[in-house]
Symmetry: C2
Subunit: 258 residues, 2 copies
């Protein structure tokens, strides 16, 4: 089984509220269908979630009543995005079933407190593709906060120990330095967690409550610790996802499980 994350910046225009990249998602859905693997799919909230979540300061927890409205609006917005993703998957004959974090898990000061893993397993067992996503969530300590798609990938990967975790990004993978700032930056094809600690990476310049690549590296380290490889690849390039799922060598970064 693979756990695959469609990054929010791949499936939406992160700088523009509620702008869904239909063609990209349709192509990725076709690649998934063609590869014919058992998959749990997670997608980011992108501009359907981050802009509202930031406006209402949801990640800081419940501080004023106005945020209740903000939480409700954000939840509905990411559900709208989820509907668009589901429709694309269904159009490609993938039996996707939505598992919304705000209904199946609780956090406690941003860390996992309780999650129903069995619901994912039961749908897998019946031949479905469980689809979850970056979402608002209940938080025991804070009232509510954010469950990012990356946190979800981490939790599910540590629990299910999939064959591989794949992050579908809008860049090819990891570099030794930010290629925008540093002409000597080189692309990393394969790296251990130990080496990862020495590297700096491109950071996301757009509004993002989940801190872009910095948070992702933390996630990847947790996944490596349970012995699972993580692959980062560019979802904007045709067949990178398909080829990777089929074990073909393409431009991507592999972070080796320990």
């Amino acid at each position: 089984m693979f756990i695959i994350k469609f990054g929010g910046s791949v499936i939406t225009d992160k700088a523009k509220e509620c702008c869904f990249k239909q063609e990209v998602v349709d192509r990725l859905a076709a690649e998934l269908k063609h590869a014919n693997k058992e998959v749990i799919l997670i997608h980011g909230a992108g501009s359907f979630g981050h802009i509202l979540a930031k406006k209402y300061k949801l990640n800081g927890g419940y501080k004023q009543k106005k945020q209740v409205e903000g939480f409700a609006l954000t939840q509905a917005m990411v559900q709208r995005l989820n509907n668009l993703v589901l429709a694309s998957l269904h159009n490609h004959d993938l039996p996707a079933v939505s598992i919304p974090p705000h209904a199946v898990l609780s956090l406690s000061n941003h860390k996992l407190s309780r999650v129903d893993y069995s619901i994912f397993q039961k749908y897998l067992d019946l031949g479905f593709m469980p689809v979850s996503f970056g979402d608002v969530a209940l938080d025991k300590k804070l009232g509510f906060s954010i469950c990012s798609g990356d946190l979800l990938v981490q939790l599910l990967a540590v629990h299910f120990k999939p064959e591989k975790v794949i992050f579908v990004l809008d860049e090819d993978g990891l570099y030794s330095a930010n290629p925008k700032d540093d002409r000597n930056a080189t692309f990393i094809e394969r790296v251990t967690v130990k080496d990862l600690d020495k590297l700096t990476t491109r950071l996301n310049a757009h509004a993002d409550v989940t801190k872009g690549m910095e948070g992702k590296l933390y996630t990847i380290k947790q996944i490596a610790r349970v012995g699972v490889d993580t692959i980062l690849l560019n979802g904007n390039v045709h067949n990178r996802l398909y080829d990777t799922l089929k074990g073909k060598k393409v431009r991507h970064t592999i972070v080796q499980g320990e």
Copy 2:
């Protein structure tokens, strides 16, 4: 706290696939807002769910692989309906949060096997309006089946023992006989469960996997057994819901809790 069910035939045109009654839902949302009560809202799946569920025979359980696709499509379709309901509630400043049955409960041969009641309570405690709906669901015995909105109302009412349960229908309430067939049919304002057993009622002529009024009477009896009153009222008539929530006397049927 009130548990209110918006019937599928009130919020959709049951004979026509995916036809949402925007004006009716907007008016009911306005009445809810105006009444300012603590509410768990359930809505039927109406033509967004029943037609597909029937086509793929989902209520009979998992018998062939094609149904997996049918389950996924039905789930996405009722989620689309739920999005429309949420949007209307949010437009009326109601902090509605979606709790989809297919993610939070399991059935076993159509009966409840497991449900996370705490998620409803936690959202209520924070000031949200939990919104759930008729949905497909996992079924231990059958693989999957249907969790009707009525079953959901029953489960939640028995657990939470609300002040009242209100069924918002497309008819005024219960009659002593089917008023279409029988000129002597009289409207019932107040009735006990014992008397209910003696009555026949209008049955739904449209495609409906959840058996219309017949199933509803069973539900209402279970609710009465825990001492909770159920009110049936006409959602197509302006302010019937609002007036009922405010304790005013309007045309509706009260089934007394025992």
